[in-house]
């Protein structure tokens, strides 16, 4: 085997059968800065968790997030006491912020699964240092998303009626309804994501158990590690399970947003009833999710000095994904207009006219600016490699994807078939407080995660270290 550039990371022993190292086609910027060893990687990542000194910045961030979380708790209490009437939803717009935010959050979650499962199957080494964090983001985003349909039912304490269980009423859920498909899709997604995440954490829990200074922490991490001892037989089954889970999570993540899009596409509302909704929604979800991963990793790597592990290469790759999925989304917007026009249906044509020039037109054009125009910066390498520009573009996309769901839901509903039933929709203070509150929930969980669990998969990072390379005698 040819001697390689010292800067190029080895990956012979990584998760997945990677036999030959792939030369990087475009440039030499590494996915792990040189000079790291097994112990330095272990040390650096685990100390973020094990240090006794909690950074003051963490307290500030956690404090603000927790404050927002209390806003959520207050809103939910009021919602349950008074009813969903405190939200702005009414006929004709029966789906407002609750469904917009549900779709927004669940879409964000998709990037985590994409990074951890699809990029694993595609043997993209660079996923290694961001997958743990992205999976956590998925989990918390799904938790935030799940609250909306739950509370939108109006009587969340009867939410279990949506599950098929033997009951004295002799009833079953309506299995022919996309809303019940959604219940199955989202609950399966939440369960599988949580377990996938936990399984990924087990070897790292063992590291923390062996390194934790105080007894209570050793005990808790020890419990969570379940007695993991790094046995070769265990690793073999572990990797098999991990690979199979990645293979299962890949169609799962595609199915989740497909089914979310069925909530719209299966109805007959102009602007919703379109066959291209599933791929359009999945691309939009990946787009939104990568934007959120960028929004979170850029401050994280700066604050915890993780530039060695989350390098410019990672940010640049995410910028490329943002551009690619952004172009798919742009194509979908164009096709949406084309289909409406080509259908020759007066309601479809009116809907498009209303969407682009009606009372909500500013939202539509702002969405075009955020989702199509802003990501075009990613064509240029100097922007893709600049954390500041990436962060700003990601923010545009976060806003743009929220606007996209607003436009799809509200402009389709507020003026449909019968002009006498038209109406306008705006979110009330409680809609906004609920939205801000779920951001608080999401951020609070993320801050706790960063403090108590390893933000980067330690054992997978070890496989990227040159020292981890196994040299076979017959190769020398």
């Amino acid at each position: 085997m040819e001697p390689k550039e010292p800067r190029e990371p080895h990956h012979e022993v990584a998760v997945g059968p990677a036999d030959d190292p792939k030369p990087s086609r475009f440039d030499a910027s590494p996915i792990l800065e040189p000079g790291h060893t097994l112990s330095s990687v272990t040390e650096k990542i685990s100390m973020i968790t094990l240090t006794r000194r909690t950074p003051i910045g963490w307290w500030i961030g956690f404090g603000i997030s927790f404050l927002l979380l209390t806003v959520l708790l207050y809103t939910i209490s009021r919602l349950i006491l008074v009813g969903v009437g405190i939200w702005g939803i009414n006929i004709p717009v029966g789906w407002g912020f609750d469904i917009i935010n549900f779709v927004w959050w669940i879409g964000i979650g998709h990037a985590g699964t994409l990074i951890s499962a699809i990029l694993l199957l595609l043997r993209q080494d660079w996923r290694t240092s961001i997958n743990r964090f992205a999976e956590a983001m998925t989990l918390f985003a799904v938790a935030a998303a799940g609250l909306y349909p739950l509370l939108h039912t109006g009587r969340p304490w009867f939410a279990y009626w949506m599950f098929p269980y033997p009951n004295t009423m002799g009833l079953w859920p309506q299995f022919r309804s996309p809303l019940i498909w959604d219940v199955f899709a989202v609950s399966t997604y939440a369960t599988v994501s949580a377990l996938f995440w936990y399984i990924g954490l087990i070897p790292d829990f063992a590291t923390l158990r062996d390194r934790a200074g105080s007894r209570p922490f050793r005990f808790v991490y020890g419990l969570l590690a379940m007695g993991w001892r790094g046995s070769a037989k265990h690793w073999q089954r572990y990797e098999t399970a991990y690979l199979l889970l990645a293979g299962l999570a890949t169609p799962l993540v595609l199915s989740v947003h497909t089914i979310v899009s069925f909530d719209f596409a299966v109805s007959i509302i102009p602007g919703w009833h379109a066959t291209f909704f599933p791929p359009y929604f999945v691309a939009g979800a990946v787009f939104a999710g990568f934007a959120m991963v960028l929004t979170l990793t850029i401050p994280l790597r700066k604050f915890y000095n993780l530039e060695d592990f989350i390098t410019i290469k990672h940010l640049e790759n995410m910028g490329k994904v943002l551009l690619a999925t952004g172009m798919i989304v742009a194509y979908a917007y164009v096709m949406e207009l084309f289909f409406g026009w080509y259908s020759g249906n007066e309601y479809e044509i009116f809907m498009l006219k209303n969407r682009t020039t009606g009372p909500y037109a500013p939202m539509y054009w702002l969405l075009i600016l955020c989702n199509i125009i802003a990501p075009q910066l990613m064509w240029f390498k100097q922007f893709r490699t600049s954390p500041v520009v990436l962060f700003i573009v990601a923010m545009f996309v976060n806003v743009g994807m929220w606007l996209e769901r607003f436009v799809i839901i509200v402009t389709s509903l507020h003026r449909d078939f019968l002009p006498s039933s038209w109406g306008m929709y705006t979110g009330t203070i409680w809609d906004w407080s609920m939205f801000v509150g779920t951001i608080g929930l999401f951020m609070t969980l993320l801050f706790l995660f960063v403090r108590f669990l390893p933000v980067i998969s330690i054992f997978e990072m070890r496989t990227l270290v040159p020292e981890a390379k196994v040299t076979h005698e017959d190769e020398t």
Partner: protein, 179 residues
């Protein structure tokens, strides 16, 4: 019931992955069969080197997926055709295309649960106690060191010979694992 042995085995510590893999291969070649290797990250070929033949996990996952999918489909079939048939405009009761999303999700859920709990069960986890944890330096197995343990249940095991054999592999240290 296993008979009580004075020690669990003899363990050798290595400082890199290549050494461990070579040591495992040599131990297997020397006729040892009951052994285990410990490393801080997965090493390809190590499980095979200690004579471990692939696991049954993929079959368990396949079975889980099939049970989940069939169970999901027939649950819906039972609900809409047998338990609570509802005639809507003469449409067929067994409207199978509408059952596909839930069937698919049930298949994935059951397969994923089978993968996770199957892996844990085959690995015998959770297992909070294991003799190797008695080895003082074993905590480095989750950090940057590599261990090979030849267990006392091996027919070829002999406290002295095995120790000398492991010593010949140029490890960092060899020690007994109390049972």
């Amino acid at each position: 019931m296993r008979k009580k042995l004075p020690i669990h085995g003899v363990i050798a510590e290595f400082s890199d992955a290549t050494q461990l893999l070579r040591a495992a291969e040599e131990a297997h070649a020397a006729g040892y069969r009951r052994m285990d290797a410990y490393s801080p990250f997965p090493i390809h070929g190590l499980a095979e080197a200690i004579g471990f033949r692939g696991s049954r996990l993929p079959m368990i996952v396949l079975a889980g997926g099939l049970i989940g999918g069939l169970g999901g489909f027939f649950m819906q079939y039972y609900a809409t055709v047998i338990s609570y048939p509802l005639n809507i405009g003469g449409k067929p009761l067994n409207s199978w295309p509408a059952y596909i999303p839930v069937t698919f999700e049930c298949a994935i859920l059951a397969a994923a649960l089978a993968a996770i709990f199957g892996m844990l069960a085959l690995n015998g986890l959770p297992e909070p106690y294991h003799p190797v944890f008695h080895v003082p330096r074993f905590e480095f197995a989750s950090r940057d060191h590599f261990f090979l343990c030849i267990e006392a249940t091996d027919p070829k095991f002999d406290p002295e010979d095995t120790r000398n054999f492991l010593q010949s592999l140029e490890p960092r240290e060899v020690s007994d694992v109390p049972s």
